[in-house]
Structures are given as structure tokens and as C-alpha cells.
């Protein structure tokens, strides 16, 4: 088995006998360049780049010069806006968000790995029912449960704490995580399980010695996905927290709107700063993230 991070579709009974040797290097089906598609992609590239460029250049502009066109490069580039943001409790917000993300990832992994393991390996009514529940769970909009959750959180005395953000965020990251992991675990070939079973391995030993090592790709995707969910979550923090203590980054950004008022350069500097940590994560875990996200649709 190769350790390709791209989840492949499990081998079902093929309609035609498969004789082709496995190829990892796919040729493009037309070797001629496609000018129309190339043009389209360049247009989209411009649409993506302009706002990002405007954001970065404005965040480096002095506030008194910022009322020009956002597309002009800054005349006197300055880091003053970043200084303003960093002195407005940005570190505290970042620490809270990192805490939430780490906790969410831990909860999701501990709960979803066994779930996917059962969904793939256990043939029973209950395992199918559990899997289908999560399949439907993908469609539940978080907004729809925010009012009753607010009531539950208040009754559990969790209001205005980080836990109030962590628990629901983890729950809502579970459906997609379960789907990703199920897809990955299906790619582990039956023979490996059988070989271990013949050696008398218990399901627990299989989980730790076979499933987890073989599903590294899927697991790292789930880590990135659930961390992103926690990182981007806005609604739960908005509704379940209120004071400065448990405030997370997204909510902090939202508050900067009123705090900085017309200081658009500082506001954009805060947006840039909020993107830097996740960009670093992306650089490190790019393969896992991209491969796994592709797998979501490729099933």
C-alpha cells in the first residue's frame, strides 16, 4: 500500500475486469492547451487577488492617507496599524481561539474515530443508523439550534465561558468529520483486518495498530477541518459569550468595527493578522487539507 494522502474510492466489484496497471501520473485528456479555460482561470485569479492586495496595501497605509483609492500602494508604508491591533488585546483573542480549536479537535477525534471504525467494520442496524444520523446531520444549520442551545447552555451554567463555544462547535464539526474518516477507513483493505483477526487481535488493538496508522491522511484532514470550523465559528461565540474573558478572534474582529470606527487601515490589519496563523497551518498541512477536501466530494 502506498501512503498516498488522497483518499481513493474503495474498490467495489468493477463492472469490467480491471486489467490496467494502477497509474498515479494522470495525463490530461487533451494535450493541447485550452485558451478559453486558461482565460477564465486568469479572470478568477484577478478577482481573488485584487481584494487581497487591497487589504494588505491598505493595512500598511497611514490612517490620514487612507481615504484615497484602496488600490493605490501606500505612500509611506507603516506598521503602525498592526501595532494598534496588537495593543487592542489581539493576543488574548488569539489565545482563546487556539484553546477552542485545540479542544474541538481533541473532542472530534476522540468521538469520530471510533464512530467511523464502527460504521465501516460493524454490520448491525445500529451502526447503520448512527452513520445515517450523521449523514443527515450534515444538513442541520447551526443557526437553527442556537436559541434552544442558548437555553441549555444557560441551564448548564456554561454561559459566557469557553466551554459554551467548544461543545456545540465540536458537535457541529462531527458530521463531516465522520464522513471523511469513514471514507478513509473504507480504503483499508479487508485482508489486513482478516490477517490481524487470525492473529487473534482484539478490535482495540486493531484500532491502534492498524486503523489509526493507516488512516493518518484522513485523520490529519479531520484535524484541519475541525480546527478551521472552530477558527471560523462566529455565531456560537456571538450568542454564548459576552464578556472580554472568553472572547474569541472572530468576535473580536466584529467588535473592532465599533472600536476602530473609521480607522479602516487598522480594521484591515486585524483581518490580515487573523489570517496569518491559519495560513501557517495551511503551509504545514496543505497536502492533508487539500487531499481530504477533495475526498469529500470524490466519494
Amino acid at each position: 500500500m502506498s501512503h498516498d494522502t488522497l483518499p481513493r474510492r474503495p474498490l467495489r466489484t468493477p463492472r469490467t475486469p480491471v486489467t490496467a496497471a494502477p497509474t498515479h501520473r494522470r495525463r490530461h485528456w487533451t494535450r493541447r492547451p485550452n485558451p478559453l479555460a486558461g482565460l477564465g482561470s486568469v479572470v478568477w485569479l484577478i478577482i481573488v487577488i485584487i481584494p487581497i492586495y487591497a487589504m494588505i496595501s491598505t493595512s500598511l497605509t497611514r490612517q490620514d492617507e487612507a481615504l484615497g483609492n484602496a488600490l493605490d500602494p501606500p505612500e509611506h508604508p507603516t506598521l503602525e496599524n498592526y501595532n494598534t491591533v496588537l495593543h487592542s488585546g489581539f493576543g488574548h483573542l488569539l489565545a482563546n481561539t487556539v484553546t477552542v480549536a485545540a479542544a474541538v479537535v481533541a473532542i472530534v477525534l476522540v468521538l469520530c474515530v471510533p464512530l467511523a471504525y464502527v460504521a465501516v467494520r460493524t454490520r448491525s442496524f445500529w451502526s447503520g443508523a448512527a452513520f445515517r444520523m450523521f449523514l443527515l446531520g450534515v444538513a442541520i444549520p447551526a443557526q437553527a439550534v442556537v436559541v434552544p442551545l442558548y437555553l441549555m447552555i444557560a441551564k448548564l451554567n456554561l454561559y459566557d465561558s469557553l466551554l459554551a463555544v467548544i461543545l456545540p462547535t465540536a458537535a457541529f464539526a462531527m458530521p463531516v468529520s465522520t464522513l471523511i474518516l469513514t471514507g478513509t477507513l473504507r480504503d483499508i483493505s479487508e485482508e489486513l483486518y482478516e490477517a490481524m483477526a487470525l492473529d487473534g487481535a482484539s478490535p482495540t488493538r486493531m484500532l491502534f495498530q492498524l486503523v489509526i496508522p493507516m488512516a493518518k491522511g484522513g485523520i490529519s484532514t479531520v484535524v484541519v477541518y475541525s480546527a478551521l470550523q472552530a477558527w471560523n465559528g462566529f455565531l456560537f461565540p456571538l450568542i454564548f459569550t459576552q464578556s472580554d474573558g472568553p472572547r474569541v478572534l472572530t468576535l473580536g474582529l466584529f467588535n473592532y468595527v465599533s472600536e476602530f470606527g473609521v480607522n479602516i487601515p487598522a480594521l484591515l490589519a486585524s483581518v490580515v493578522l487573523s489570517g496569518i496563523p491559519i495560513f501557517a497551518v495551511y503551509l504545514v498541512a496543505r497536502r492533508a487539507l487539500v487531499g481530504g477536501l477533495m475526498g469529500v466530494g470524490g466519494k
Binding site: T30, V118, G183
Partner: protein, 298 residues
């Protein structure tokens, strides 16, 4: 559905060795956790929709008052219209762009990795950050586009569609790219031998082969566009007037601005029913059973 060649072994699935399969109870912690924080609140929302509650003290029974109010509320019709319109326009915009980009990116162009990385950048910013970015860039006194974008209904609406697309197209491009990579090369070779040109190949092979991918992407897109909450809250606050108040925003205002949680729960219940019905409908229409058929190989 096509089978890709896997480097795994080519045997039929094993004849179900009973030994070494985990007990279904292993799934219990996850199921219970999810049931408590996602399923139970849905049921609770439905219950709360028959009560009157201002967020303090305990909910009091109110019968059908909230539902009556909901169906008499002119804002509901408007909100449903806006939500549907937003969903349809966003879906069209995002699907067309990400399908084309994804198929293109699945090929082997030079610099593809670099381009893919750039295409992916918007995905690295949170919805909140992206909404703030465009809030700044579309600011009437400052931004790229002069003039009051959010002052007119169509301007505000198109801004939301565009910002949503800018944010989510990278993700869906990836999904389509993954789908297009899994189409067996053989089909294209056969088509080329039969003399099918590039566009014929695209319409006769690529599109049909991407059906399941399109379903997955569309379900995520449609459910996602029901929830452009941050974008609406930051960019337009539902304005001008209530012209861009999508359902979740209407719910947020009813609950957390007017403290009418019973009414907010009625809107939320309505939203759950709508989202679930939509997903089921999509699954039915497009044979999303692909998700389940992968379970056959167990």
C-alpha cells in the same frame, strides 16, 4: 459510478470474519454527544416554538401564537423569497465557476500548483474576516467601488452573492478538481478515438461523470447559503430595510434583538424543516445513494 484502480488488493470483500469487529457500542459516546448538542436542541426548538419566553425565567406555554404570528408576518414571505433567491443565484454562480475551474485545475498545466494555492487563499480567512474585508473595500467613502453599494436592494443582494462566492468557490473548486481527477482516462481515450472533440468530451463524459461530485457540492452549497449569517450581519444588517434579511438573520433579530425567543424558535423550526427537506429532495433527485452504496464493500 466508476471504479478507480486501487493499489489495494483486488479480492472480493472478505466473507465477514466475525472476529475482531468492534461492538456497535463504540459509537455510543459520539452518538450521544451529537444527539445532546445537535439533535436534542432541534427538538427543543420545536417545543419552544409553542411557548412564550423572553430569555429570562422559564418559557410559558403559548399554543400556536408564534406559528400564527409567523405565517401572518409579511417579513417571512419576503425573507423566504430573499433566501431562495440568494440560494439559487449563489448556487448558479458558484457551481458554474467552481466546476469549470475544478475541471481545468484537474489537468496538468504548468504553474497549476501555484495557481491552486492562490485560488485557495480566500478559504483561509474566516467568514467574519471576509465580511469585514468587503465591508471596508465597499465602504462608500473609501472603497474600490465608489457609490453606496449597500444602499440599494440589488447592490446589497449582489454584494452578498459575490462575497459568498469569493469565499466558497475555492472549496468547491477543490471538490470538483478531486472529482474530475477520478474520471478514468480510458473514457476520454475512447471518446477521442470516436472523434469527439474537447467540448463534446466535456458534455458527454466530464459532466455525467461528475454527477455525484456535483450533488455533494450542491448539498454543501445550498445548506451553506441558508447560513450566510455573518455576511448579512456585517455587510447589510438585513438592509436596506429588511430586503436582505435571510431567515437566520430574521431569527437572530427576533431572538437576540427583540428577546422573543418563542418566535425565534418558530423561525428556527421552519429553517430546520426547510433545510432537511431540501437536502432530502436533493438526495432523492440526484441519487446521492452513492454515499450509502460505498457501504456495500464492507
Amino acid at each position: 459510478m466508476s471504479s478507480t484502480v486501487s493499489t489495494g488488493t483486488k479480492g472480493r470483500p472478505g466473507k465477514g470474519v466475525r472476529a475482531g469487529r468492534p461492538h456497535a457500542a463504540w459509537a455510543l459516546p459520539g452518538v450521544l454527544f451529537f444527539a445532546f448538542f445537535a439533535i436534542a436542541p432541534m427538538v427543543l426548538a420545536f417545543y419552544l416554538s409553542f411557548t412564550k419566553w423572553n430569555g429570562l425565567g422559564d418559557p410559558e406555554p403559548a399554543g400556536l401564537a408564534n406559528w400564527q404570528k409567523l405565517f401572518d408576518d409579511p417579513r417571512l414571505t419576503q425573507s423566504i423569497t430573499v433566501t431562495v433567491l440568494l440560494t439559487v443565484v449563489s448556487w448558479t454562480f458558484q457551481t458554474v465557476v467552481s466546476l469549470l475551474l475544478g475541471v481545468w485545475a484537474a489537468g496538468r498545466q504548468r504553474n497549476r500548483a501555484v495557481l491552486s494555492a492562490i485560488f485557495f487563499t480566500p478559504f483561509l480567512l474566516s467568514s467574519t474576516a471576509i465580511a469585514l474585508l468587503f465591508y471596508s473595500l465597499l465602504d462608500p467613502n473609501f472603497g474600490i467601488i465608489r457609490g453606496d453599494t449597500f444602499g440599494s436592494t440589488s447592490g446589497a443582494f449582489l454584494a452578498i452573492v459575490f462575497v459568498g462566492g469569493w469565499q466558497f468557490i475555492p472549496f468547491h473548486t477543490l471538490i470538483y478538481q478531486g472529482g474530475a481527477r477520478q474520471i478514468p482516462e480510458v473514457l476520454y481515450q475512447a471518446a477521442a478515438i470516436d472523434g469527439a472533440g474537447r467540448y463534446r468530451q466535456f458534455f458527454s463524459i466530464t459532466l455525467p461523470q461528475l454527477r455525484n461530485t456535483a450533488t455533494t457540492s450542491s448539498v454543501l452549497m445550498i445548506v451553506g447559503s441558508l447560513t450566510y449569517f455573518e455576511t448579512v450581519l456585517i455587510l447589510t444588517q438585513g438592509g436596506p430595510g429588511t430586503d436582505t434579511a435571510i431567515l437566520p438573520y430574521l431569527m437572530y433579530e427576533a431572538g437576540f434583538k427583540s428577546y422573543d425567543f418563542g418566535y425565534a424558535s418558530a423561525i428556527a423550526s421552519f429553517l430546520v424543516v426547510a433545510a432537511t427537506a431540501l437536502s432530502l429532495l436533493l438526495v432523492r433527485l440526484t441519487g446521492f445513494g452513492a454515499m450509502r452504496s460505498t457501504r456495500e464493500g464492507m
